[in-house]
Symmetry: C2
Subunit: 279 residues, 2 copies
């Protein structure tokens, strides 16, 4: 298991961590200030102020890009909605290429509005990823399926376990992998087996950390800083590294209720401290 206690070379900052309303410029400046080597930007932040300008900021800072968040949200009630979603996903692939990102993160989406057809939504997700892979594979951009915690099944992602995501990878072949985010998978009784399986297939494209607050107050916006919750972070990282993953640990914290209210410096300084001590 790698020693993270002495440097930040294996820390990536997901730009949502400083707050969804803050800018890529703020994220890049914080990375430079605290010696962070990599980022994973969100697309709406990249487009605020201009994608090209933000891409230039990241490039000039010499930051690695561990992913682009996000493609996905494939479920659509009709053909027109689906065409629109696919067009946007192809643009996301192109943006990931422009950034030289390691992967495009896919949050696959839940049920279409007004629908209860979960099996149908899952079929649509598989079909859509297959179609998107026809664009991404020849361009060399890996698609990273992020299994979502089951509490997001209806509204954010209907691929809900690592095993489920790997089944889709196996079905669709090369150019696909997974994001393992501890927040989504820590509870899974099959986690150890599925991490090993992901490693054997060379499917682990990214590893995301944060923590689960024992008394979670909000389904989306109450993630905890690493060390402030109940997830066995070092144990899971050992499994992920044991499965062959050698990339950065990316910090992704959605915390409208706490961290996003704080100054960027305090957030990022704490990320660095916790990365060194508890991740």
């Amino acid at each position: 298991m790698r020693d993270l206690s002495r440097d930040t070379g294996l820390l990536s900052l997901n730009t949502a961590t400083i707050g969804w309303e803050r800018t890529i410029r703020e994220a890049v400046e914080a990375c430079e200030k605290f010696g962070i080597a990599a980022v994973d930007p969100w697309r709406h932040q990249m487009h605020a102020g201009g994608f090209a300008e933000n891409a230039r900021l990241i490039r000039n800072a010499g930051l690695e890009v561990t992913g682009l968040c996000r493609g996905g949200f494939f479920a659509a009630p009709d053909g027109a909605g689906r065409d629109k979603a696919m067009d946007d996903n192809r643009r996301a692939v192109d943006e990931a290429l422009e950034l030289g990102a390691r992967c495009l993160v896919l949050v696959v989406g839940g049920l279409a509005d007004g629908s209860r057809d979960l099996a149908g939504a899952r079929r649509q997700v598989v079909d859509s990823i297959a179609e998107l892979a026809e664009h991404a594979r020849p361009a060399g951009m890996p698609l990273a399926i992020e299994p979502m915690h089951p509490m997001y099944c209806a509204d954010r992602g209907c691929v809900n376990t690592l095993g489920h995501a790997l089944d889709i990878c196996d079905a669709l072949g090369e150019g696909l992998g997974v994001v393992i985010d501890v927040y989504h998978v820590w509870w899974d009784p099959d986690l150890e087996t599925q991490i090993a399986r992901a490693g054997r297939g060379g499917r682990i494209l990214a590893y995301h950390v944060c923590d689960w607050r024992r008394e979670t107050r909000d389904l989306l916006f109450d993630r905890a800083m690493m060390g402030d919750g109940v997830i066995e972070l070092k144990k899971i990282r050992a499994l992920v590294e044991g499965a062959g993953y050698d990339g950065p640990c990316e910090v992704e914290i959605f915390s409208k209720l706490d961290w996003w209210k704080r100054p960027v410096d305090e957030i990022v300084r704490t990320c660095v401290e916790r990365h060194r001590s508890v991740v």
Copy 2:
């Protein structure tokens, strides 16, 4: 698949549905008024005003008791805490026997306070259920493990899929089964397989219904009335009945944010209507 459209003989009212602060007397009176044949009472409601008196009310109304909620919460940080939890669980078995309940529902509990040891908590759960079964099995009271939605893994229940619960049943033998509550399991990509497995083993001791609100506002207290959410209720009931379950459908709705604020009559009338139309 059974036709529920014409009667309430297959409807059981979990007494939490009318609100945790309301009484067994109110629940029993509502059952009599609306022709409901069965209840599943919560222990704190049974003890409010006296267990014996509440048991008498249920018996005199001729109500079947589809379960007693609940035993469990086994995780304890030390030996004294564990002894106390086991004593309380044995009392719960005795109370279930006194009520002639079909089963004692087990919400197994999450991590002990201050602990992150999920594997240890799960071992403690298995050991505790094995010990409790020594008391319950000779007395003829089935123990019904209720797999909890993964969002409750830390604080309410660290058995998080139906397959996980059935693994424990298989390991511990006779006298054990499961509660299938749609709220906890609807998202599971392995649901169909595991319901069939539960049926083959004769393990389905109870079937609970409510609904999942697409935009869930609270992890515990925002369950929806059947028909107001996204769960494919008839599809899941067909699987459960196809697996051999022939008992009542029990309505269990925790809804501090909505239904618990309404009059008992309105809640129970709606349960009956939805039981006939969408369950």
